[in-house]
Amino acid sequence: MSTQVQLEIFEGPLDLLLHLIKKNEVSITDIPIAAITEQYLATLEVMQSLNLDLAGEFLVMAATLIHIKSRMLLPAGDGTTEEDDDDGEDPREELVRRLLEYQRFKDAAEKLGQREILARDVFIRSGTPVEDVPVPNLREVSVFELLNALKRVLERLPKENVHEITLDKITVREKMTFLLDTLRARSKVLFDALFAEVKTRMEVVVTFLAMLELVKARAIRIFQDELGGPIQIEAAAGMDEASILPVISTGEEDHGT
């Protein structure tokens, strides 16, 4: 692929349509549906080929466009269609209304963004929250490092083939509670220490899942001091607080669902 692909970020199908309408210098109230539909679909193809996560809404709009296009082909006032038979009303009308309404708020959003925004343009005394203050000397752990750490834990388990006939006694939920309790007692826990007492594969996996659930709920954070260094787990504050306060270990278990 030698061609330079330049693709704007579209906030959604309406945004993309407005872009195409503008690019083609056509009137929003008289959209050449066939041409615009074609370009719309072509853009979707590019997005797909780039493995961009295409929101379902883009596809719904594609269907809507094709539908409008087909209705445009029908003679006006032909009462043969079972649905959408609305006395020769322009099939584009509803779409035009939505586009105009969206453009209206796009304009409003732009104006809002030009205001003197706190913590961007103007600041207040002390504690103006500045986003994402980096925690010194800590780096986030990648999924691969986590999986490697998990692999090491699993390898450490006793090799003797103890038959695990214990039923599913430990649940992810219990482990989540356990992990949060541990973190409340000590603000930081080493990844390895977490698995020190764990004896079975099942428990390792459940503990690991519990940890991931808590990360997802933003209740804990996983860090290491340096690449390959020991992986540490700490309680995270709520998102906002987390960005201004270094370490907080308030009960965050409410998030742990």
């Binding site: 330049q6 693709l7 704007e8 970020i9 906030e11 959604g12 199908p13 309406l14 945004d15 407005l18 872009h19 309408i21 503008k22 690019k23 929003i28 780039l50 961009l52 929101a55 809404e57 709009m61 939505r98 105009l100 309404e101 969206y102 453009q103 209206r104 708020f105 796009k106 304009d107 409003a108 959003a109 732009e110 104006k111 809002l112 963004g113 205001r115 003197e116 925004i117 706190l118 913590a119 961007r120 343009d121 103007v122 600041f123 207040i124 005394r125 002390s126 504690g127 103006t128 929250p129 500045v130 986003e131 994402d132 203050v133 980096p134 709520g238 998102m239 906002d240 960005s243």
Partner: protein
Amino acid sequence: MEREEVKSIIDSLLFVADGPVTLQRFQEVIEGSNKDEIRSALVELQKELENGPRGVRLVEVAGGYQMRTAKGNAEWVKKFLGGRPARMGRATLETLAIIAYRQPITKAEIEAIRGVDVDGVISTLLERELVRAVARKDVPGRPFLYGTTQQFLELFNLKDLTQLPTLKEMDEITLPEIPGETIPIENTEEC
């Protein structure tokens, strides 16, 4: 109480306040003063800061008064505070604009306007306390109705909601020029 004295006290109060101070609050603290005195002292202070070689401004925001740094000094203040500056993504701004103008509004109604799912944006906005659920709509499912908060006004330097510019009428809408620059492809979920 002397006029200059009132002004001086207000100056001090504004300095220590951790949020916008209402006229009412000034009056409670500065005994024997009336609202007119306080208001004119505030206006004077505002002018002095505006016209003098000062790096702070007195702004009327979210129903009160607050000292804020001068916009022209933003670069230095940011450097001093460190960290990455607050960003306002388009998804955030659009959703906020819709809520601000159409409140109280449900998530489904916002999605109908934006044409995309706003789950993630809404939860971030709720987390940042820029919007809040104000009620439930009396329709099946009883969905939450969202509205903007004091923090929203503070963030955008707005005195109150009436300060929002009026929305364009439908027939005034023209499509803006397409910006020449293109944005690198990345996740647009930011705020």
